[in-house]
């Protein structure tokens, strides 16, 4: 099977002898109560698929509340994964298979399930109480409303209880294993190897033998249940993907970002300092970095967002590769301090893992609505470079890129990620660590002015970066600060011409970086009429839409921006080559506004702020609509 509508076929096309049916891709969604361990189940299934060699992409979705009331719609947590035997770019538009652990999970997710898709439900959870909590007046398992799907009813609670009864777990721990029952069943249905999951459980619960035994027992029971009852007429196989040769790991964006920072520090030959304050969805970067003290990483959980960046500025002054990280509301609090870093011209990376806003907004949902805020969300004339990550694995390289710019140009750099990248995962072809770029800079150690004077704002003639003199260097004692500084001596200056010069210089310094970043590349047909321009996490959906249309014979091209400030030097020329420009964004048209303003191009937007990513279909449809108009 191939093309746009594969997935788990219905009974008509399946082979009857229970031999396996081959699929090129399948989208599976696990949905349950936030206490049901759906994220863990999804991650385990994903890792087993990764180990098997599939390409994959994941999309977790969870409530903002840690434990929303059990059994209710707001408490539903889900994890979607697409596995494929080819290079896929998103977690898929529509699940082919939905696992619903309770009525609320069914209600919240059924609308997304592909017609005639496979629906696996935990029958035991469909009791009166749970049905009422989910707002069902009649049991959907009994009223014929699910006839359009291939329903597999499994009494998961009772089977799990039975499976774990000799493992020693008691009380609430018993039913905790039912997520493993579910992935055991899926492991059978999709012919996943069992070893990765069993090994993971053994390692993870090495100190809790009973829990390990219960999870493994439940997992095996799920597998055996499928096998023994012939739960479906066929099982399905998705062969390993023919990815570029190399060593792969499955990685989330936040982990890749943290590792990228560790790598950046090594590439810069500097100690890494991360000053931050916990916030969803950026906290995992702190969690990950705090594990790697043997790399000399210093993490500082500050008293608030402002102190988070404050400590990073202090560390930057002291000569570290300094980083702060947050999400929109936290970045707003850091705004004044970013201006200080910009004014004192210290190297600093400011990570913004964007989420739905404004205010608390949708803390666990993706949005790209902080682009203009990144460019302009400060007082005064305050240009900073902005770099955007476009997929989970892309975070690694762009952490290094942000560090390169910050150090080379002595400037704060905003590094944008979002909820989709942060928690989503994909296979990542591991780089050869010896081939990572050298981004080290020379810190000044001798006076640079007449008579042994040190002139802290005497700039490099190429980059316009000021020298970085770190405390401890004899003879270079100097003072920096937020007040405007004389263009050479760095002394406080209120001179009108000097402020003009310094303002222009700071702007020019950032603009000039355009000559030091890769040109934007065209993907698809050079001679197409339409260019789809994107940035950030929409890359996968845009590329998949382009691939789909080109496969059906249409001519279309896309370009994806990593550098949003400054734009690559060739962007204007690229835009000029196309009649029409479409800019899909998970905001109300922020890049579109910039492109229109900077290049006077009548770009059109495809905009969505619904807390969910674009589907491939949405983008493809919009392109078609523009082609036909």
């Amino acid at each position: 099977m191939s093309g746009d509508a594969p997935g788990v076929p219905d009974g008509d096309t399946a082979t009857i002898d229970r031999s396996s049916t081959e699929l090129d891709k399948v989208v599976i969604r696990f949905a349950g109560d936030s206490g049901d361990g759906m994220q863990l189940a999804g991650a385990r299934f994903t890792d087993a698929s990764a180990a098997f060699g599939n390409d994959l992409a994941t999309l977790p979705s969870f409530p903002a509340e840690i434990r929303a009331p059990a059994g209710t719609l707001p408490g539903v947590s889900s994890f979607q994964v697409q596995i494929a035997d080819f290079d896929i770019l998103t977690a898929g538009d529509q699940p082919d298979c939905l696992v619903a652990m309770n009525p609320a999970a069914l209600k919240a997710n059924l609308k997304d399930l592909r017609p005639s898709g496979t629906l696996i439900v935990n029958r035991d959870a469909f009791d009166e109480r749970n049905l009422a909590k989910a707002g069902y007046e009649v049991n959907p398992l009994d009223d014929g409303s699910l006839t359009g799907f291939k329903v597999i009813e499994v009494p998961m609670d009772s089977l799990t209880k039975e499976a774990v009864k000799d493992t020693g777990v008691t009380g609430r721990d018993v039913l905790r294993s039912k997520n493993f029952f579910a992935i055991g069943l899926l492991a059978w249905l999709f012919n996943r190897p069992q070893e990765p999951t069993v090994e993971w459980v053994e390692q993870k619960f090495a100190r809790k033998a009973d829990v390990a035994a219960a999870n493994i027992a439940a997992f095996k029971a799920g597998y055996t249940f499928g096998f023994a009852t012939e739960a479906t007429k066929t099982t399905y196989t998705v062969k390993p993907a023919k990815l570029e040769s190399g060593r792969y790991t499955n990685i989330t964006g936040n982990t890749a970002l943290a590792w990228g920072l560790v790598a950046a520090a090594q590439c810069a030959k500097l100690p890494l300092f991360y000053g931050t304050y916990p916030i969803t969805p950026a906290s995992d970067v702190l969690h990950e970095l705090s594990k790697h003290k043997n790399f000399g990483v210093r993490t500082f959980q500050a008293e608030d967002e402002i102190a988070g960046i404050g400590t990073a500025i202090g560390a930057a002054f002291g000569g570290a590769l300094a980083v702060t990280g947050s999400s929109g509301p936290g970045i707003a609090l850091k705004s004044e301090a970013i201006s200080l870093a910009l004014m004192t011209e210290l190297p600093l990376i400011v990570i913004n893992v964007q989420r739905g806003g404004p205010s608390t907004g949708l803390p666990t949902k993706p949005e790209q609505s902080d682009l203009l805020f990144s460019l302009f969300g400060r007082h005064g004339e305050s240009p900073v470079p902005v770099v955007a990550i476009s997929s989970p694995s892309d975070a690694f390289a762009n952490a290094i890129e942000a560090a390169r710019i910050a150090l080379k140009y002595m400037t704060p750099v905003i590094l944008l990620s979002d909820n989709l990248i942060a928690n989503g995962s994909e296979p990542w072809r591991l780089p050869d660590v010896d081939q990572l770029p050298d981004i080290s800079v020379t810190r000044i150690t001798e006076p640079n002015g007449p008579d042994g004077a040190f002139l802290p704002y005497m700039r490099d003639v190429h980059t316009f970066a000021r020298p970085w003199a770190v405390p401890g260097t004899p003879g270079l004692e100097h003072r920096i600060g937020g007040i405007e500084k004389d263009a050479i001596t760095g002394n406080v200056s209120y001179d009108p011409a000097n402020h003009q010069l310094m303002t222009d210089t700071r702007a020019w310094k950032v603009k000039n970086i355009a000559n030091d970043i890769p040109p934007v590349e065209i993907y698809g047909d050079d001679d197409a009429d339409i260019l789809v321009l994107g940035w950030g996490s929409t890359k996968g959906a845009i590329r998949a839409a382009i691939n789909r249309l080109r496969a059906s014979g249409k001519k279309v091209a896309s370009a994806h921006l990593t550098h949003l400030s400054p734009f690559p030097a060739n962007l204007g020329e690229v835009l000029d080559r196309f009649d029409k420009v479409l800019i899909p964004e998970l905001n109300t048209g922020q890049l579109r506004m910039l492109i229109r303003a900077d290049y006077l191009v009548p770009a059109e937007g495809l905009n969505k702020v619904a807390g969910v990513p674009f589907t491939i279909g949405e983008i493809a449809d919009k392109i078609m609509e523009m082609m036909e108009s």
Binding site: E303, D304, A307, G318, V433, P471
Partner: protein, 336 residues
Amino acid sequence: MTTPTYTRADFQTDQEVRWCPGCGDYTILAAVQGYMAQMGVPKEKIVFISGIGCSSRFPYYMNTYGMHSIHGRAPAIASGLAASRPDLDVWVITGDGDALSIGGNHLIHALRRNLNIKILLFNNQIYGLTKGQYSPTSEVGKSTKSTPYGSIDYPFNPVSLAIGAEAGFVARTIDMDRPHTQAMLEAAHQHQGAALVEIYQNCNVFNDKAFLQLTGKEERSHNRIDLRAGEPIVFGPNGDHAVVWREGKATVVDTASVPTSDIMVHDPSRLDPSTAFALSRLSHGPYGPTPVGIFRDVSRPTYEDAMSHQLVEAQEKRGPGDLDKLISSLGTWTVD
């Protein structure tokens, strides 16, 4: 490494000092520069970080490394610097508005974390740079530009606040008394960990003579309580007042009215902060008998030492960071 010998002039910069003539900041600057010359630390190792306010111009006048940062955030910036560079000698210059109003959060957390930073809090009980509004240490009823009917804000007692925030070292001194100021600077510097020195600083433009009770010749002889380690706490022209423990608090009495054995003997090294706190409650502003000197001087491990220790331990246990190992740590598979 031998430390060069310095004079006060080595710590002066070519920048014109721009405080109002007669401002208490001048005498504090002279005291600090004078102390730095004898401190025994190479000047390239010294960093002054300040926030915003009159006093926060201070780093520009110190020929050391320095940063004049943003309002209230100096303790946070200094914390990051000290945590990442334990080899440096980090000083924070702040004022009552900077440290206790906009930057209150950073101050208390820097103190409780116990970074090895020395915080000099210039308390003039007024906002000077913004031309005369009441501050979080101004007295209730104070008439200022923003309180024409008198302030209704109850003030902080900075020493009480610092002790409450788990500070290991807390002292108070007065701008006019250079030897005392320098003694407090030295004690703060000797202390391993966060130190807060409240310096009563006269703003002769917007709040002149706020500290008269402690600086006027006649007044100070009645009101200044010098806390000296190991000595009974007595004050007044002929030592005629004493501090005793009564009804669960430190109380001023006539020395003659109590047996000598009742008089509190000052011990800033007491682990429990209750006594230090009680002494800080003898006054709530410089309006009557007010203690100066070291209230508390108790060491505990510093944040940066603990942090460095964890780094060393991790390296001993797991070896120096190996990037390839790190990126392979979640399990890998190979595609041919």
